[in-house]
């Protein structure tokens, strides 16, 4: 190669590098600005919740100074809630409902997804599509028919009705996530297990569940979110304190007539948000891996 050619090649490489460098710089700036805007939008409400929860009722109602600052921080709202029997009941009810809903939903959706994605029976394709379509039905449309059903089995104003109701919302989506995940597992893996002597349940238990753990965790988080955070159904179906769950208990107990106990409401919101925050923080990596499984050939 002549010296001139080499020099030209070097210049072209530098030009290319500069151009790529500029493009990357713009992309980074754009990303940071967009992320900054979203971070502010999403973090301001919880921040406001936190500072309000640390104020006494007197400080909140005084409306002097900046509402973004706490002048006399106190944990009295938290202490009140922790020692308040109704709040303990709501927490316990929410926990029972959520644990049962997540368990029931996961058992049903893992079994359904395995049979739909792997056992290849007649109509399995249409059933898979059907499962997805049921997820598209808005929950509010099911309100009245479900109210009648729950009424007939005598579970109105009984938090056990939620254990029956929430899986109808969680199972279709969880099954859909799991079908996607199971489908990304090579077919030869179950064939190898079949030849090794496993039956279908053993294949599911010993091969699919461990291999599909990110997908299962993603689906579990979704079912947890549905069960822990749902508001409309408990609002419509439960009306006594001993049956209420956190979402409706907080507003029905801490808003009395036109008196809003903002400090306690905010503290209750924070306490109610703790379990989802802890679970998301620990399992976020699995959640992302589960939702994106099958997007690329592994």
């Amino acid at each position: 190669m002549s010296a001139t050619t080499r020099e030209n090649g070097r210049k072209a490489a530098v030009r290319r590098k500069t151009s790529l460098h500029n493009q990357r710089l713009w992309a980074l700036w754009g990303s940071y600005i967009a992320l900054g805007v979203f971070a502010v939008m999403f973090l301001v409400p919880p921040f406001y919740t936190l500072i309000t929860s640390l104020k006494s009722s007197a400080e909140i109602s005084a409306q002097t100074g900046s509402p973004w600052l706490v002048h006399h921080p106190t944990l009295e709202n938290f202490w009140y809630l922790i020692t308040y029997p109704n709040f303990q009941t709501y927490y316990l009810n929410s926990t029972i409902v959520t644990v049962l809903v997540v368990s029931v939903s996961m058992v049903i959706s893992v079994l359904a997804a395995f049979s739909l994605s792997r056992m290849g029976f007649w109509g399995s394709q249409s059933l898979s599509t059907g499962v997805f379509l049921t997820y598209l039905v808005p929950p509010s449309l099911l309100f009245i028919p479900l109210f009648q059903i729950i009424g007939k089995i005598g579970l109105i104003n009984n938090f056990w009705c939620l254990v029956i109701l929430y899986p109808t919302l969680a199972v279709p989506f969880c099954t859909w996530i799991m079908i996607g995940y199971f489908s990304s597992i090579p077919k030869e893996l179950d064939e190898a297990a079949l030849i090794d002597g496993a039956n279908y349940l053993q294949i599911l238990w010993k091969i699919f569940i461990p291999v599909a753990m990110p997908g299962i965790i993603a689906a579990t988080i979704f079912a947890f979110t549905v069960a822990w955070g749902a508001f409309l159904y408990p609002l419509a179906y439960l009306y006594t304190s001993n049956q209420m769950v956190l979402t409706v208990g907080i507003i029905s107990d801490l808003i009395r007539g036109d008196v809003f106990q903002w400090g306690k409401i905010m503290a209750a919101c924070l306490l109610a948000s703790l379990p989802p925050i802890v679970i998301y923080a620990f399992l976020m990596d699995y959640y992302v891996a589960g939702l994106t499984a099958g997007a690329t050939k592994g």
């Binding site: 030869e188 064939e191 190898a192 079949l194 030849i195 090794d196 002597g197 010993k206 091969i207 291999v211």
Partner: protein, 367 residues
């Protein structure tokens, strides 16, 4: 160890597509049989039917004399090695190999003894605690073989096990597989599309095409005595040359093949009896590249000289491939690497017609 018999098995998919069209095959105890053929010939489907992973439309499969058509894979006492290894990714190498034994409730010390023994045969003892993701392709394939060996099954089934490996590793693993078979002597059915793999590994090769068996025989049989044009063309690399020709009277009352007006070659007397009945008929002449030589006056003075213009020269080190065209048909000669052949120049050639094959153009049958 067991015999495997296939009786008129058919595999028909929805829509009436037949992947396997009623084949018969008997595999003897300890035998290493390779099913070979192009994509879609039905070889993998046949293997999967033996494994029980694919339902049989009609016909029978017998393992050790028992019909296994309705026996689930786990009860057929077979082991299979897959193209993509199919190792359980969350288990260590030891657990992968022990999985089948654990399911069959073998005692722990027996499992350990068997896994250690298989690991020793396959030279993977240091890998036993690793997960599959920490292994190379060749190591993974060894583990997959180990998983098959530990069960000590009646039959080993291999479904294109070397296709995912690079060329060098493939050759190495081929030798390993042969060595393992020589050690454990388990009846083996091996599927590949690579005819070299088939030739080097098999006791007998089964050439399949379009859902039927074209020919079954030892590698040498298939190479030297192909039954059809398909087998003649499929076995051997580079492939056999095929030239349209006519059998006609030759000099001194003998026979000759006329390829073109200028290429008329006498058929050796030893072959004349066999080909006499085809005198005057259009046939296809089959000649392997190694049976075409560069012509030397002093070398084979009685052989006919043919001059052909060289198209491409491919030096391979120990030999050189020279490509020509005869009336549009490609012809390859495997010649001495010392050749001076150059593209565009004419090269004098001669052929050993004692090794020729003559085929019917319509049926492809070798006569």
């Amino acid at each position: 160890m067991a015999e495997v018999s296939i009786r008129k098995i058919v595999k028909e998919y929805e829509g009436g597509v037949q992947a396997v069209k009623g084949i018969d095959l008997d595999i003897a105890d300890h035998e290493f049989v390779v099913l070979v053929g192009p994509s879609g010939c039905g070889k993998s489907t046949t293997l999967r039917m033996i494994a029980g992973l694919e339902e049989i439309t009609s016909g029978e499969i017998l393992i050790d004399g028992d019909v296994v058509n309705d026996v689930p894979p786990r009860d057929r006492d077979i082991a299979m090695v897959f193209q993509n290894y199919a190792l359980y990714p969350h288990m260590s190498v030891f657990d992968n190999m022990a999985f089948g034994l654990k399911l069959r409730k073998f005692p722990k010390d027996e499992i350990k003894r068997r896994v250690d023994e298989a690991a020793r045969i396959l030279d993977i003892v240091p890998l036993l605690e690793r997960k599959p993701r920490a292994l190379s392709g060749g190591q993974r394939q060894r583990v997959a073989m180990g998983r098959a060996i530990v069960r000590n099954p009646k039959v080993f089934l291999f479904d294109e096990p070397l296709s995912n490996l690079d060329a060098k590793l493939r050759v190495q693993m081929r030798t390993e597989i042969k060595k393992v078979h020589q050690t454990v002597r388990t009846t083996t059915v091996y599927v590949t599309h690579d005819q070299i793999e088939a030739m080097t590994l098999a006791d007998r090769v089964v050439v399949m095409n379009g859902g039927v068996i074209e020919q079954v025989g030892t590698p040498n049989d298939l190479y030297h005595h192909p039954a059809t044009r398909f087998v003649a063309g499929f076995i051997g690399s580079p492939a056999m040359n095929f030239l349209p020709c006519r059998v006609q009277d030759g000099a001194n009352g003998g026979l000759a093949v006329r390829v073109t007006d200028t290429i008329v070659v006498p058929i050796p007397p030893a072959r004349a009896d066999r080909y006499g009945a085809f005198k005057g008929r259009d046939m296809v002449l089959g000649l392997r590249p190694e049976h075409l030589f560069e012509y030397h006056e002093q070398g084979k003075p009685n052989w006919t000289r043919i001059d052909l213009p060289v198209d491409v020269v491919e030096p391979m080190g120990m030999e050189t491939m020279v490509h020509f065209f005869v009336e549009g048909a490609p012809v390859c000669a495997r010649v001495d690497p010392a050749t001076h052949a150059a593209p565009g120049e004419t090269m004098p050639l001669t052929a050993d017609l004692n090794q020729m094959h003559l085929m019917e153009p319509d049926t492809g049958r070798v006569v």
